[in-house]
Amino acid sequence: MFKKILIANRGEIAVRIIRTCRDMGISSVALYEADDRGSLHVRLADECVLLESTQGYFDTTAILKIAQDTGAKAIHPGYGFLAENIEFIRACQQAGLVFIGPPLEVMLAQHNKIEVLQRVTAAGWPTVQYSADTFEASEGEAVRAAADRLGYPVMIKSTHGGRGRGAYAAQLAGQVERMLRRAQTEAQLVYGNTRFYVEKQITPAHMIGVQVLADAQGQIVHLGEREGSLIRGNQKMMEEAPAPGLTPAQRADLWRTAVEIVRLIGFRGVGTIEFMGDLEGHFYFTEIKPRIQIEHTVTEMISTVDLVREQICLAAGEALSFTQAEVQLRGHAISCRITAQDPWRHYMPSPGVLRRVRLPTGHGVRVDTYAYSGCAVPAQYDPIVAKVIAWGDDRAESMHRLQRALSEIALIGVATTLPIQQLIAHHPEFLRAAYHTESLRRDLPEDALPPEHARDLAIAAAIVYARRNLAGQPSVPDRLQSGWHRSSRRLRE
């Protein structure tokens, strides 16, 4: 086993990886950009090294050198940043460092999404419909022709995408070229040069991923599925495990399909086999996610398996320490990813300082976060601040516990998506699991209020208004002063 691991990431996922390293007795090396030196992942690590170039967390040359200087034998990329960067994975191998993820040959075999789709189709598994060819960003007309053949809406996707980046939906033929340009702009930023393909969009849909683990000895195990269909743009707002709408037969079918696809592609490590389902209950393979996902924690809650530990063990060449028969999935877990974005301003990023942080705790509640009272939420990074995860014996219990946990958490100082997630957590369609990828396009009703409770809240608002005026910090209805954002009504009407 590795004695020391370098973590090429920051924020909640870096903290989460450091924790598992410490639980395993492995030393951790954290990286930081100059402005990020107070971040929790730096404070908790065994060693920390400043990234001096402007490339920061993307500076692969510096990161490899730091690994060698500090004697770290392995690098955990987390999600985002370098997690799916083939050149970086190749450079790790050349430098004699272990990339904690699938081995290079496995990454190469599954990195081109359209090739994977073609192999899975050829093997007879249902996949989403996709264009036969891939295209340069300049081939707008060919892309449009391919989209026309599939029928709208379509997704224009980078062959090397991930984390919902480099993928844009076109509802109509007229949008294809613009979305291709946007996908290209974004993919360029994240993945470098890439080609594009067109996927027929299933909408509304269920987005379901099966968590798989595969060792070098050929053993494949799954830890059940999770659903992440509550999306805003390409970002998942909430995730749960198990997926609430599946029949036992559908579930068994998805699990078997996922394991067979792992075998077919020769996938190794910890990953997710992703499917889109239509509302008739047909599921279609879309892609393999070869890294830890943000929402992996719901699977940890129902399986009690530490997925980062398994990633590390598998990357070290160990065989899986448990068989499929030993996996016990128990209860239900729901996760909320709270980001520093202002829902009342088009989800504009909202950096700042968290003046007050209070975390919910207790039986069945887990919070993954880098936040503490006084910590900075920097402008230049991913806006995820915290994941609140609630486990219960069944879905109803986990949902009530999530409502409770969301009501207890305090993240004061920056605007976050928390109010929206609280609305969702109380929404009747969420409560009865009647949701899909289009659900958040509709407006969220607020709960009815008994008059007495409304009066109490009105009193609170009046006191706050008076206190702020007295303190010379009046609550200005900012929407009346600045025009670029929509009014708060948007969420209501």
């Binding site: 946007r182 009342w344 990023p349 607020e446 009193i459 009046a462 006191i463 200005v476 600045s482 670029w484």
Partner: protein, 165 residues
């Protein structure tokens, strides 16, 4: 003294608060003409978005939006509207057509050109910040009188990006 009309959850109340009339943690509040005593344990604490009051034995720990558009408590999120009954003149809606960067970042795309006619809410720019693309919309309908940025350009907070005349 402060007199406001507050609407929350479909109910509207006229409320008078006088912060000088407090006794220890207790504050008299007049709601629709009736006087109530509200306990505000943190009345001496610095201003915070989290407020903590007890009304008639009901404790409420509430987070209130800095702009008083919503508040959340353990029952969920509730929209709120506060009208100051003493400020006789409503604040005018800004007629300023300048579009400013709401966050520092990089302009990734510009969808319009000077002279273009735009509708209120139309997407004008993509501003990348916090690893996300953020659409910047037109504040009102009109024509673009000026564009001050181009793709790839770094912008600082509140930098003027364009103007709608």
């Amino acid at each position: 003294m402060s007199k406001v009309e507050v609407t929350v959850g479909g109910h509207t109340f006229e409320i008078e608060v006088n912060l000088n009339h407090r006794a220890n943690h207790d504050l008299p509040v007049i709601v629709n003409g009736q006087t109530l005593t509200v306990t505000v344990p943190d009345l001496d604490a610095p201003l915070d978005q989290m407020e903590w009051i007890i009304v008639d034995r009901r404790p409420h720990e509430i987070v209130i939006d800095p702009e008083l558009r919503w508040l959340r408590d353990h029952t969920g999120v509730h929209f709120v509207e506060v009208r100051d009954l003493e400020a006789r003149v409503a604040r005018p809606i800004s007629r300023d057509g300048r579009i400013k960067a709401p966050i520092p970042g990089v302009i990734k795309a510009v969808f319009v050109a000077e002279g273009d006619r735009v509708e209120a809410g139309q997407s004008l720019f993509i501003l990348e910040a916090m690893k996300m693309e953020n659409e910047i919309h037109a504040p009102k309908s009109g024509s673009i009188s000026q564009i001050s940025v181009k793709p790839g350009q770094d912008v600082i907070l509140h930098e003027v990006l364009a103007e709608v005349a």
